[in-house]
Each structure stands twice: as C-alpha cells, then as structure tokens.
C-alpha cells in the first residue's frame, strides 16, 4: 500500500481481538515439505537446510486455525481479497529439517486507514512464535490488509 493515507481511524468493533491468542499447535519440517517449498521458490530442493521462508510458513500452518477462520475474526473472507502488508522475521536459531516446532501466536494490532485511491481498509497485525524443545527459534510478525469496500 504505497499511496498516502490520512490519519488512522480507531476500529472499536475489532479492537477486542487484540491480544487474542491463536489455538496454537505444532508443525513438522518434514523433508517432503522443505523440498517442495524450495522447489516452489525455484531454489535448490536438495539443500539440507530449510529455506528461511519456512519460519513464517511453519507459524501460519501450526497456528491451529484456518485462514478462513482467521479472516472471520475480522468479518472478512478470502473473496474480499486480503493482502499482505508487512512482514518481519527474527531467527534466533537456524531451522532444522525433520524438527517439529511448537507454534503459538496472537493478534497484536488492528487499525483502520483510509487511502485516497484504495478507500477504506483495515490492517491486522499478528505474531507467531516457534519453539523447539523449549528454546525460542523464531518470531514472525505479519500484517494483513483487509479491503473494506463500502465502509465509511
């Protein structure tokens, strides 16, 4: 979203979601997964070290709910055309093929903005943590942009 925006507008109806924890779960970096992910990236699928994008993928795949369920927390759906906004990954330790990570996460922010061309949209921030045998391996922050066509 590169266009100028006016001041953020509070979004009280969804502010209550801030702090809400995902159910959480686990995610295994099975060799077939690391192979296919590298292949989709046109990278070397035989490299034994998992591609770092798997930190985020492990988080969202192990967060314990579907995308549709997450979108529904914000009265949105996949057909609304939700988009990525920002992404941060911090890797405290390298990922390991074959490891099974514990995943936890939560909603950290909800903001409404109005763009001159894009109209009204909501930006939802969430973070995901990966732990392995009690050690913090990675944290990913991401924001999703929900177009709110027809909103004031």
């Amino acid at each position: 979203m590169s266009e100028p925006v006016v001041e953020p507008v509070p979004l009280p109806e969804h502010q209550a979601q801030v702090g809400r924890e995902f159910p959480g779960g686990t995610y295994a970096l099975a060799p077939w997964r690391t192979w296919l992910v590298a292949d989709t990236l046109l990278d070397d699928p035989w490299d034994e070290v998992p591609h770092p994008v798997l930190a985020w993928m492990a988080g969202v795949s192990g967060m314990g709910m579907t995308w549709d369920e997450l979108f529904a927390w914000f009265d949105a759906s996949a057909t609304d055309g939700p988009m990525f906004g920002e992404h941060h990954t911090t890797l405290h330790r390298p990922l390991r093929t074959g490891a099974t990570y514990d995943v936890s996460g939560r909603i950290v922010s909800v903001v409404r903005k109005v763009g001159r061309r894009a109209g009204t949209f909501d930006i939802v921030g969430y973070e995901l943590d990966l732990h392995l045998e009690g050690a913090h391996v990675a944290r990913c922050y991401n924001s999703i942009v929900f177009p709110r066509r027809g909103a004031a």
Partner: protein, 148 residues
C-alpha cells in the same frame, strides 16, 4: 554446513542480483502447502470476476522467499538469515520477471559473529517495486572468525 561467507564486505557492497520468472504452477503448489483458499493465486475465472488482470497474483511468501534466496546465497547459506523486514508495495503476476537485490548499509560484530545489515528490494523487471525492506545476515560466524 554452510559455505564460507562473502569476503571483503563493506558498506556499499552489492548483493548479487537474482532474476527469476514467476511460474503460476508453483503458486498452485504453494496454495496447497499453505491451505490458502484465496482464489487470486490460482483461479483465472475468479480474477476476471474481480475485474483484475487474469494472470494469477503471486503469494507474498513466494516474493519474500525469492529475496531471501538471493540474500542467503550471497551470505553463505540458508542458516545465515537472522532478521528480515519487508513491506509489500505491489503485486507480482504470473509470467513476471522479478529481480531480487540488496546493498550493505552497516556491519556489526555480535556474539554470533559478523552481521551485515542490508537494504533489500524485489522489483518487477520493467515494472514496479514489489517489496522493500532490510535484512540482517550472518556473514562470518564466530567459529569461522576464529579459524581465520
């Protein structure tokens, strides 16, 4: 085990650019891997109904991944990425050629070794910038520093 990191890195050193052509078949695999129901990544009829270009829109993680590939190849391995922060500025469509690139803006000595901070971007060749941000890469781990 990673290969050794790059030599002679200083502020202003360029990360070798990586150019790739975006393949819509890979988007379908990624949608399945992510259980991502968003039809703009694979359903050309849905794109037409939304009034969009009928070329599928690449997933954000794939765009991030291209950039991470360029960075980690330069740094000496996939285990060299410590931090990655990007903003999604535009879409990448099936068939686009993208160019991932970066430049070193700072160097730090840390308890894990020597770290290069880079400004990074993913551009659509002949088009707009899709991703901009920064990344921290371990270019000389402590164990390798001790060997040299």
């Amino acid at each position: 085990m990673s290969a050794r990191g790059p030599e002679g890195v200083e502020v202003g050193t360029l990360v070798p650019p990586l150019e790739l052509t975006v393949d819509p078949e890979k988007m379908k695999v990624m949608a399945a891997l992510l259980s991502d129901p968003t039809p703009i990544h694979f359903d050309t009829r849905a794109l037409a109904e939304l009034g969009l270009d009928t070329r599928p829109i690449n997933q954000g993680p794939l765009n991030m991944g291209y950039l991470q590939t360029a960075l980690t190849r330069w740094a000496g391995g996939r285990d060299r990425l410590l931090g990655f922060r990007v903003r999604f500025a535009g879409n990448v469509l099936a068939g686009d050629v993208v160019r991932a690139h970066g430049v070193v803006t700072a160097l730090h000595e840390t308890d894990r070794g020597r770290v290069a901070t880079c400004d990074v971007a993913l551009d659509v060749v002949g088009g707009a910038t899709a991703l901009t941000g920064t990344a921290d890469l371990l270019i000389r781990p402590v164990d390798e520093s001790e060997e040299s």
